[in-house]
Symmetry: C2
Subunit: 232 residues, 2 copies
Amino acid sequence: MTPAPKPPMRATLVAAALQLFTERGFEQTTVDDIVALAGVGRRSFFRYFPSKESVVFPDHEGCLRQMTEFLADPEGDAADPVDRVNDAARLVLRMYTNDPEFSVRRYELTRQVPALRSHELSVVRRYENTLANYLRARFAARPDGRLRADVIAAAVVAAHNHALRTWLRSGASIDPDAEVDHALAYVTATWPDRQDREPEKDTSPADDVVVMVARRGTPMWRVVQGVQGVLD
Amino acid sequence: MTPAPKPPMRATLVAAALQLFTERGFEQTTVDDIVALAGVGRRSFFRYFPSKESVVFPDHEGCLRQMTEFLADPEGDAADPVDRVNDAARLVLRMYTNDPEFSVRRYELTRQVPALRSHELSVVRRYENTLANYLRARFAARPDGRLRADVIAAAVVAAHNHALRTWLRSGASIDPDAEVDHALAYVTATWPDRQDREPEKDTSPADDVVVMVARRGTPMWRVVQGVQGVLD
DNA sequence: GCCCTCAGGGTACTCAGTTCCTGCTCAAAA
DNA sequence: TTTTGAGCAGGAACTGAGTACCCTGAGGGC
């Protein structure tokens, strides 16, 4: 019973679709072509995929669920929030590296077809929203917590996607983990872990203060520059 | 000849579409409904808008062109790159605040209709790409220049959109510029300008000073928040 | 035997978007 | 005045994605 003699419908449809898309192009392939090649009824296609585009991203739903579960695990609340969302982003990388050939083929397709790019954007947005929601909860007590959460989530996604694209453009020939580690390290360096001082504790010694003097009209960057490195 | 007695077709279509979309919903409105209300032929709709969704974002094309021209101006190469893309992002804010009622109505619509959210994502992505391309050129000499460009562009867009959403959710009742200034100041504080600039700004009168006192360990955003609005 | 469920298939419909053609209008040329 | 040409608007017909509704057959428990 272990060797399934009937390939599951989903996989059959994905294989047929990808083959036709790469052979003759996305727009030039109709859903009828796909189901004809797969040997199933047209109705079945839309039973498994909500749209013609979604068949190109068959595993994102599962990955998104996995990310949500990962971030819901209360175990992770001990870790630094930025590290946590970095690890969550690595789940997406893992999904891509699980099937490198498929990922590279999909990358080529997506680069060329606007409809697929648009669909991918929606998927990425859902990842980013998931990360942002997590950070919002972690930053709830801080001032501008939501702003920080949105910006950091966007930065993490951008860094991850930068590394992912680099890996895909290389044809999956370089080390993806090293690429993503490097990109996410930049994010971590930008927002370093201050977790060792627990949040909002004003019990720190009050005698150690910094005084910043600035003229009115001084641009904000100059103030920040002056204080940078002295505060901590 | 100056006062046009015939309202231009574009504006007529946008008005008719928005009215029907808000009255009976986006999906429940067909293109035929729109052109019937506008009193024009169906063919004319697709002469002016490539899709049913794009009629909801009639001014983004012009804004994108404006942003591209702004960043192409060699005058701006003297400024800090992050400041420059911040100012570019403010162009988008300006487009929204030019017609607050329309923007708020569109925001409500977009929130409810997935197809419109997806279309908006594509537009935002083009802004982000434009900013990232500019930063890539500015950071070409630096190590990891492309990575930095992508991450900072994403952060700027996220901060801008955070402020924009806050303003839209308020029903355009709060000060949009203050909101965006605050959000972008966080980005500026995150990547402060460390390049020495010409001391032209230091010729301002020296008698008007601001004193900021902070404990060591205070996060930078808190300093920025405290000084915000006092410096200028 | 019967009944229930459910994955799959088929048909017909709506509507977005495209293609091709036609008609109108204005304006310069003849 | 007529003619020609360019450009905009309307309209008819077509493709194809996605949906609604209904049918079939294979199990599976009683």
